[in-house]
């Protein structure tokens, strides 16, 4: 087989791989759409579903970033504070309000107070991971390392004591 033929096979293989990835993704999205609005992360207040968090809405929010101390990588995205204010308004959020962000696939949970989330110095942000899921990151001591961050976030629960 000559080189040109081999290159053509490689290009066809590349197109097939991209097609399969996008095809599987479309099928998965259609399946997910039956349960919830597509591409949404539910927000619950005191156990009651109040809103679902749609990816397109993030484009309205201000982009922020910081360089993490652990690996020196830039983490950029949208402040959790801005996301919550966009959907809930300040009335639902008091200084002692607890915000629990979780990932069922990772079996990880992080609970923060509204005071911590509201303080922009803490950089509690949703960073878009390389594969397109959201990761909750921060500079709060104890919650500033990868092991503590919440990858593949799929639920936000808010409770006010």
């Amino acid at each position: 087989m000559n080189q040109n033929k081999r290159i053509l096979i490689a290009v066809a293989l590349l197109l097939a791989i991209v097609g399969i990835v996008l095809g599987v993704d479309t099928l998965q999205r259609q399946k997910a759409a039956a349960d919830m609005p597509p591409g949404s992360i539910p927000i619950f207040i005191d156990g009651k579903f109040v809103a679902s968090f749609v990816p397109e809405d993030l484009n309205q929010l201000k982009n922020v970033s910081f360089v993490d101390a652990e690996e020196g990588k830039t983490q950029d995205g949208w402040l959790l504070r801005d996301v919550l204010l966009l959907y809930l308004g300040e009335d639902n959020l008091q200084t002692k309000t607890e915000i629990m962000v979780s990932s069922s696939s990772r079996e990880k949970t992080q609970t923060l107070t509204w005071a911590e989330v509201e303080d922009q110095q803490n950089m509690v942000i949703f960073d878009l991971s390389g594969r397109g899921t959201l990761k909750l990151v921060s500079t709060i001591p104890g919650f500033d390392i990868r092991d503590a961050w919440i990858q593949d976030v799929d639920k936000i629960e808010i409770t006010t004591p």
Binding site: I7, A10, V21, L22, D25, L128, R131, R146
Partner: protein, 182 residues
Amino acid sequence: MKQRYFSTFQLILLALFSALVVVAKIALRTPLQLPGHSGIFWMTIIIVGAKVVPKAGAASIIGITSGLLASFLGLGDFGALNTFLSYAMVGVASDLILLLLGGDSENPVVAVIVGIFGHLGKFLTKWLFGIISGAPIGFVALGLLRAIVGYILFGAIGGVLGWVTLKALKRAGFFAYLAEKR
């Protein structure tokens, strides 16, 4: 005595390339906030390594060894297994496509295709992990197409840089020096 597939000298070279992949991942920072941008230097190293040790399996050895190093150093956001398999797949995918293309990474088109496929191997590993772990699919939509394009583009750039580096090494007489060492 039965001759080993890789000589000790070649294994040392492959180990050095593996370490270089990890060091580059830690030390080199690009201001691009795009998925897959690290493929620029990553694929350059793999392509050069696979030519310096011109045997099938050389890129896989670089991938697997760098994956082990990266896992033990705690690199990556999705755990050690994800990190190891992502790094390893870069090498394995590069080897497989080099086999298909006849192993001539001195050809710029071949180098670009190897760069793309090697880097896409990493993307596919991360994507499959997302499916298996049940990552929230809606948000994948936000970045999936952008991520694929990013991985392909930066893999291709890495391929070009690898080809340029190989040309420079050849001009400097590096391959003649290696031939003497063998």
